[in-house]
Symmetry: C2
Subunit: 348 residues, 2 copies
């Protein structure tokens, strides 16, 4: 297994390390071997090369079967809208260059963590859906973007093509077919021309998946329903900016924020990463929760290498660690293990 490893900033290196331990453990057991090639990304890469996604890192990703990613972001770049180079630009460059068109985020409930949910337990107990966010189009990459000559007007452009929408829509239907066969397409078709194209394109593809029930929901309504009735969702599909907002909103509802993995499916390769950030306050302290990264490694085994059994071995170990309280301080303050202890326990 040819894996590029991009630890990134903050707690990135520590948590990625634990994921490698689990990978090695299951792969060894089943007679596979992983070949890791490490490369810098984010603030670390700016410090080393001036570029948050250096060409060398890109080549390493292009040559890998899959990318295991930690997290990026450093406080020294925060709240400075004028900073010339920012870690996030590395993320956007990586998405574009690797063609990572679909960000997949499973929202799952862990029974032992439900009490951490901000929502009433009855609302989230059993919530289980997948949010699929388009990741290389829309207002993130649309041009023109900038300022008028006098600097007093700013503008961004939201753009989508039928091809961009079709590709991810088919992927979303495939997910729905393997799950409860319900697809919720989130847009703002009562206001945006791009949303109207999304709706038409999905409507044109829907007859190819007659078993899937398709519903269309305005984004403001979706922002409410995620809180009011999360169990109603099975697969949610949306464009880049709405997805940015709704997937983060969805990530906090089950109380499992520190455990949620994600996959970004690409044209050239795919990237697997925890959905949480680089948590700079915890960096180097050996206290961060490695579970989301370990579960991202499991997702990688399943989606990039079709190693389902190995993926489930990791998941079973993670569940056992939760049940037996082998967890970091964010889950259990009084009996916390360190990041590396949790990593060792799960690998073992």
């Amino acid at each position: 297994l040819n894996i590029a490893v991009l630890p990134g900033d903050g707690i990135g290196p520590e948590i990625v390390e634990q994921a490698k331990k689990s990978l090695d453990a299951v792969l060894k057991k089943k007679g596979h071997e992983a070949n890791y090639t490490e490369a810098p990304v984010g603030a670390v890469a700016i410090d080393q090369t001036g570029d948050p996604y250096p060409e060398e890192t890109h080549q390493i990703c292009m040559n890998a079967d899959a990318v295991l990613f930690g997290a990026i972001g450093d406080p020294k770049y925060d709240n400075d809208p004028k900073a010339k180079v920012r870690p996030e630009q590395g993320l956007l460059a990586m998405r574009k260059k690797l063609g990572l068109y679909a960000n997949i985020r499973p929202v799952t409930t862990f029974p032992s963590l439900i009490h951490k949910s901000p929502l009433r337990s009855d609302l989230v107990d059993g919530a289980d859906f997948v949010a699929i966010r388009e990741l290389t189009g829309g207002i993130y990459f649309g041009r023109p973007q900038g300022r008028s000559e006098d600097g007093r007007t700013a503008y961004d452009t939201n753009v989508y093509t039928v091809e961009e929408i079709e590709r991810i829509t088919r992927l979303a239907f495939d997910f729905a077919m393997k799950r409860r066969k319900k697809l919720t397409v989130v847009d703002k078709a009562n206001v945006l021309a791009t949303s109207r194209l999304w709706r038409e394109t999905v409507q044109a593809i829907a007859p190819d998946f007659l078993e899937v029930e398709v519903e269309y929901m305005f984004v403001d309504n979706a922002a409410m329903q995620i809180i009011q009735w999360p169990k109603r969702f099975d697969v949610m599909l949306t464009e880049n900016m709405f997805g940015d907002i709704l997937t983060d909103e969805a990530s906090v509802i089950t109380g499992s924020l520190g455990l949620l993995p994600s996959a970004s499916i690409g044209v050239h390769t795919s990237v697997f990463e925890p959905i949480h950030g680089s948590y700079p306050q915890a960096a180097g302290k050996n206290i961060a929760n490695p579970l989301a990264t370990i579960l991202s490694a499991a997702l990688m085994l399943e989606s990039a290498f079709n190693l389902k059994e190995e993926a489930n071995m990791i998941r079973t170990a993670v569940e056992a660690s939760l049940e037996q309280g082998k967890v970091t301080e964010d889950i259990d303050k009084s009996n916390a293990l360190s990041t590396s202890e949790v990593g060792d326990w799960i690998a073992e």
Copy 2:
């Protein structure tokens, strides 16, 4: 008091009727008199005139000191992205023509309703903030918008000028000064050029309000914080599309959705309306909750006519109705009063 009344669709007429009862009761008691001029808007206006915001309605609004608005929307226009005329277009036309640049939504907690909240009570008990959404700019009105010639590419334009941002920013600071002096500006300055202009413009105005603590928050983070820690917010300021999503998200957290009023502050006049929709399934059944509209009338007395005492008389009556269980079926299924009975009780 020269008030335009736009009942709109669905339950609009019923709930607006109750608000008028309360207005008349307090105004009479204090020696004022309201002069109502009714006009159609929304689906009802399309049926009557072909236009969801007819010129006559507009003139009535222009000549009024304030507008009391019910709700618009009709199922026959839903899920039809190609419908030529839609009720929502009336809303957008009204906002633009009346220059309703700031939508104000107080998010408040009613102790007797906290058990209706999807969130854990400890998180929302005492939550009290005001969300301010820019309402006449951004991607809602930016041009160009449309399709490429071959129809296979769609685009929208997000635009903001310094003037648009300044106007609403000063309003937001004024709100903060009268409250807990904390302003959270929500944007996506790490991606959008318009957001960077927002941040710069707010930063330039902030020195005029040194007492106010200003924080900047990315919209994805805000979508999480509203659920995780709503009490951290005092005044939240954001652009049109982010505001559409976040204000709806915020409206469900305290369990008081049926009670939340809103004000849209305009250049020519201001519009007061419940934040909930036209609830077509309940139309004509005399079961809808009129409290949000009654509280919108209170907000109107306070903001448009500076009649604080009268506004508070209405609020006190609403609180009493809640405490004494004089409520509609959405709040108490087993001992419900009808819409008009609640309206009568409060007016009395």
